[in-house]
């Protein structure tokens, strides 16, 4: 028997597989398909202070082995999340959930985080400083070490739960930004968010996406995510949640060898709603194939 348990910042996960933010909503649709408690956990849709409708349509474009999205952080706002979504979630998910937080100012990050920090159901706060799909704020916090550090410091000052900073891949040096956040007390990192990309419709000569650009995710980015997770792993001491293109149990092991303590699965869950369930089902077999008894043994274990 293999052991899939990992410990993510003081919370024991039955397995290292989490649904990625933005690809699981608040869990309701997925819970209609299978028991979500099979998951290690999931990160719910990026939540802001006020409700957001998001960007105009189309918001989705296809790419080779991937997709662009420009949702633009559609969400009902943190008050509604607390009033409606979290109570509903109690009906189908009984583990600590990861709360994904976005903002357009340091104050907004602080406000949303401090509210979610008080919710029993929330295990970790995942602070998204890397959304490429909103004009102001979002990604710009994640592309400057100073701004990233400032968000971290402000959020750490008001929260008791572990703060996981979600990093952008659209930068020259992810490790630099990670270190700046670690210095301000970041408890962990998650990466990667999406890469900025574009597609053009040859018929209309306009971008396919109404927002012009969107974030690339899916298998196409897997080798890039793996590299960045390794870079950050070597730069910081805190745990990493790795993601970007994971679609199989093998991918999970590669990502953990690179340095991830846990992983998130995004785009794959959109194409196959059962992706996480299937990956968790396959993991023990694949672990045995590669002689892994405790999955936590391989975290960062790539020989280089």
């Amino acid at each position: 028997m293999v052991n899939m348990k990992v410990n993510l910042l003081g919370i024991s996960l039955d397995n290292p597989v989490l649904g990625a933010s933005g690809c699981f909503g608040f869990g309701e649709e997925m819970a209609a398909l299978y028991d979500l408690n099979l998951l290690g956990s999931f990160s719910f849709k990026g939540t802001t202070l006020h409700p957001r409708l998001g960007n105009p349509l189309p918001r989705i474009a296809e790419t080779p082995s991937g997709m662009l999205n420009a949702i633009g952080l559609q969400n009902p706002g943190v008050h509604e999340v607390i009033a409606t979504e979290l109570p509903k979630m109690k009906g189908y998910f009984h583990k600590p959930v990861m709360a994904n937080v976005s903002g357009f100012s340091v104050e907004e990050y602080v406000a949303v985080c401090s509210l979610l920090d008080q919710q029993d159901q929330v295990g970790w706060l995942e602070v998204n400083i890397s959304c490429p799909n909103v004009k102001e704020g979002g990604m710009s916090f994640g592309t400057s070490p100073e701004l990233a550090a400032r968000v971290t410091r402000a959020v750490k000052a008001v929260c008791k739960k572990p703060i996981i900073i979600k990093l952008s891949p659209n930068v020259t040096d992810s490790a630099l930004i990670a270190r700046a956040c670690e210095d301000e007390g970041a408890d962990g990192f998650s990466l990667i968010n999406t890469y900025v990309g574009m597609r053009i419709d040859l018929k209309t000569r306009r971008p396919v996406l109404a927002n012009r650009t969107g974030g690339l995710s899916g298998p196409a980015v897997f080798p890039l995510a793996l590299h960045l997770v390794r870079q950050v792993y070597k730069a910081v001491k805190v745990p990493i949640v790795g993601m970007g293109g994971i679609a199989s149990a093998q991918d999970v092991l590669e990502m953990m060898l690179a340095g991830a303590t846990a992983v998130q699965v995004g785009a794959a869950s959109l194409v196959n709603p059962y992706a996480c369930r299937d990956i968790i089902r396959d993991l023990p077999l694949v672990m045995e194939e590669y002689g892994i008894t405790n999955i936590s043994d391989i975290i960062g274990g790539m020989k280089d």
Binding site: G22, C23, F24, G25, E29, M30, A32, L33, K45, L53, G54, L57, P58, R59, I60, A61, E62, T63, P64, S65, G66, M67, N69, I71, Q74, V208, G218, P219, A267, S269, L270, V271, N272, P273, Y274
Partner: protein, 241 residues
């Protein structure tokens, strides 16, 4: 919603670039006409959403137009090939709204979901009629199939078959009808402007097709709604057109 394997029974052209795809397998996840399925195509990352034209105990029928690489791949699949399909997606037409003489209006590959709708309405004792619109004669499909169910008015833009003009050029004579419409946005908007209550089936680019990604959300009178989940069918009063 269910993920299901279907086997191709036939996959043949029935009009210019339009194919009828008969599939055998468990279509039990489908409940109302107007729902759709999301089909994995071999050469692309995302699935392809297609309305269901007809289903029964043995399988279902899709009708699709080749417009890009995914539908092109689909057109090349032989009998016997298996397809991975998410079935039973979305919220279909509300049959309870139908009055005695519902009016069905479909343009091009907007027609398929109206076929099962017609079957169900007739079962309920309604007497539906259909206006079907196409660009040209070569695009026409399912005229006979629909005629076996209900009276049909055929319109083509160039007049090469049926009446000449758009579906809105057909005499509607339908003041007390309830409208069920599916087709291109300009057609839907023109119908929406008529003094006629009804429901409209929309299309949008989709990430997941089952409500998880917010890729397809439109603003409605009731607030943000996902075309794939609360839709693709929306009531007249909800659409902010």
């Amino acid at each position: 919603m269910k993920q299901q394997q279907f086997t191709i029974e036939s996959n043949a052209a029935i009009a210019h670039q339009v194919y009828e795809l008969r599939l055998s397998g468990d279509a039990g996840a489908l409940a109302t006409p107007g729902q759709f399925v999301n089909v994995q195509v071999g050469n692309a990352y995302l699935r392809r959403p297609l309305s269901v034209a007809k289903w029964d105990d043995r399988g279902m029928t899709l009708i699709y137009k080749v417009v890009g690489s995914g539908t092109d791949w689909l057109a090349q699949q032989p009998t016997g090939a298996r397809l991975d399909i998410l079935t039973g997606l979305g919220t279909g037409f509300d049959l309870k709204k139908a009055r005695k003489h519902p009016l069905l209006v479909g343009g091009g590959v907007g027609l398929p979901p109206l076929y099962q709708l017609g079957i169900e309405l007739i079962k309920m004792g309604c007497q539906p009629r259909l206006i079907m619109g196409f660009a040209s004669e070569r695009d026409v499909f399912y005229q006979k199939e629909f005629e076996q169910l209900m009276p049909v008015t055929l319109m083509t833009q160039d007049g090469s078959a049926g009446g000449k003009g758009l579906v809105t050029d057909a005499s509607l004579q339908a003041q007390d009808s309830f409208l069920y419409a599916c087709g291109p946005i300009p057609m839907l908007k023109a119908l929406h402007a008529l003094p006629l209550d009804g429901q409209f089936s929309l299309e949008e680019r989709m990430g997941c097709g089952f409500g998880a990604c917010m890729g397809c959300t439109i603003q409605t009178a009731k607030g943000p709604r996902r075309v794939c989940h609360e839709g693709p069918v929306f009531s007249k009063e909800d659409l902010l057109w």
